[in-house]
Symmetry: C2
Subunit: 313 residues, 2 copies
Amino acid sequence: MKKIAVIALGGNALLRASETGTIDQQETNAYETLAKLLELIRSGYNIVITHGNGPQVGNIMLRNEAGFEKYKIPKMPLDICVADSQGGIGYMLERQMRNVFNDFKIEKNVVSLITQVLVDINDPAFQNPTKPIGSFYIKEEADLLAKVNNWKFKEDSAKRGWRRIVPSPAPQDIMNKQIIEELVLNGHVVIAVGGGGVPIYRHENKYLEAIEAVIDKDSASSLLALQIGAEVLYIITDVPKVCINYGKPTQKSLDVITVTEAEKYMADNQFAAGSMKPKVLAAINFIKNGGAKAVITSEDEIGKEHGGTQIIS
Amino acid sequence: MKKIAVIALGGNALLRASETGTIDQQETNAYETLAKLLELIRSGYNIVITHGNGPQVGNIMLRNEAGFEKYKIPKMPLDICVADSQGGIGYMLERQMRNVFNDFKIEKNVVSLITQVLVDINDPAFQNPTKPIGSFYIKEEADLLAKVNNWKFKEDSAKRGWRRIVPSPAPQDIMNKQIIEELVLNGHVVIAVGGGGVPIYRHENKYLEAIEAVIDKDSASSLLALQIGAEVLYIITDVPKVCINYGKPTQKSLDVITVTEAEKYMADNQFAAGSMKPKVLAAINFIKNGGAKAVITSEDEIGKEHGGTQIIS
C-alpha cells in the first residue's frame, strides 16, 4: 500500500449554497478548502484531489442553451460541457493550491489533468436514467425538448419543474490512472477526475466515443483510489460525520464502522439516495477491494486522528 | 538536446473556416490532424501538442454573455473561459489521439494538462491592448460595455463592428514545465498550453492572481519548447511554407532559412501582423535561445524531411 490519499471534494468546496457563485467567492472558497489539506500533506501523504462540478456544469449547460438561442452557436454535448468544467475548476484549484503552498512554505508542484472515464455501454443505467442535470422547464417545454433531442425528462421532487435526466453508469476504468499514479508518486499534488470524469465508451470494442451520461464523483474517486493503490479515501461533504436514524430522537453519529456494519446500515435504508448513500457506497467499495480506510467528513476534519466517520475492513 | 518535438496546432486543427463548428466536424478534424503526427512519433520523437482556442473561447465568451442576459448566471472572467476551453479541446484531442494510436497499433499513453502561464504585470502590453476577443458590437453598445466593465474596444479593420481588445503580454514562465518535461520524457504524449495558457501574474511578488489578457499560442509554445529542452518546434498553419513578397509576382516560398535571414525578412516587413509574423517571431526566439530547428508548415508536411519552411541557427 502506498502512502497516497485521494480526497474527493464536494461541490461546496468552490460554490456554497448561500452564494450566487461569483468568481471571487469561488476563489476564496477554493483557498480555504485547500488549506485544510496541509495536515495530510505534512504527515507525509501524497495527495490526489478530485472534485464535483454540479453547479458549474449546470451553468455551462444553461449558457450553452442561451448562446444557441441568442447567437445560434452550435450547442456542445454533455461530454464537452463536463470537460470544460474540469478545465475551469482544475485551473482555479491549481492556482489556489500553489498560493497555499507559497503561504505555508511548502515546496510542492501541482498539476491538473483532464480525465476521461470508461463506462460500459451495456450498463443497466442506460436503460434507466436517474441523474437530473441542467435547468428546470415547464411540462410543455420539456415535452418539446424530449421530442427534438431524444432526451428524457422527470418532474423535480420539490416541484420546481421538469429536468432532463441522464444515465449515471458505473465507472469501469480511469483512463489516465497510470499517469496519475506516476505523478503522485513523484510527490506532485494531482487534481483529476473532475465531476466524476468525462464518460466515454468503446464503440464495438474499439473507438473511444463520447456518451451522454454523468458519472458519480465519489464512485469514480473510489475506483481511482483503488487503481492507484491509495491507502486512504476521503469523501468530503458538509457534515462532520455520517449519522444513523437521521432526524429522529435516536439520531447517532458514527465514528468508526466496519464494512459489515456499513452494509447493514445500507440494507436498513439509513442513507438518503443522491446524498449520503452514494458516499457510503463508494467508501464500502474502496474497503472491500483493498483500501485501508475511507473517511466521510467535512473539510475541517481532514487529517484529524479521530475526525469524521471512518469505514474500515 | 532531448528528442522532443513541440507541435503547436492552429485553430483549424479542430475548427475549419468553412464549417460552423459542430462537434462532429471538430471530432473528425481532430482525428485527421493527429494522425499526421504519426511519422514524427515513429521516428522516435516524444511529443508535446499545444493548440489554439480562438473560435472555441470566442463561443464560450458569447455563451457567457447570453447566459447572463437570459438567466442572470454570473459571468466568468477571461481566465476561466480560457481554462474551460483547454478542458474541452484537450479532452477531444486526447480521446482522438487514443483512437489514432489504437488504429495504428501504437502503444503510447496520452495526457491533457490545464496550463497556467506567468506574465509580467509591468509588460508594456498592458498599456497597449491589441488582441481582439469576443463578439462584434455596434459603437453604442461598445461604449456602454467599456464604461460598465472598464474594457477597451477597437473598430474591426474589416468594419464588422467594434470588438473588445485585451493585452497580449509575453509569456515569462510555463507553470507546469517541469511536469510536462517529466511526462514527455517518460514517453507520454502531452497536450498542454492550450490557447497560449491561462495568463496569471504574481501579485506583489507573492500570490498568483488571474489577469484579463491572452497569450500568443506560438510564443508560449516556443517558450515551453525551450524550457523543456525540445529539439524541434513545429508551428502548424494552413499553408505548407512561409512566403516572401506575398501576393506579388515575385512571391517566393522559403525552404530553409537561418535566423539572420528570418530577422532580415522581419525587418523588411515581409510578414503580416496577427498572421505569419508571430509565427516567425516564435521560431526565431526558439532558435536564438538554443533550439535546433523550427518548422512553420501545414499539417500534411509534419515530419517530412524537406517539408515546410525550416528556420535554423
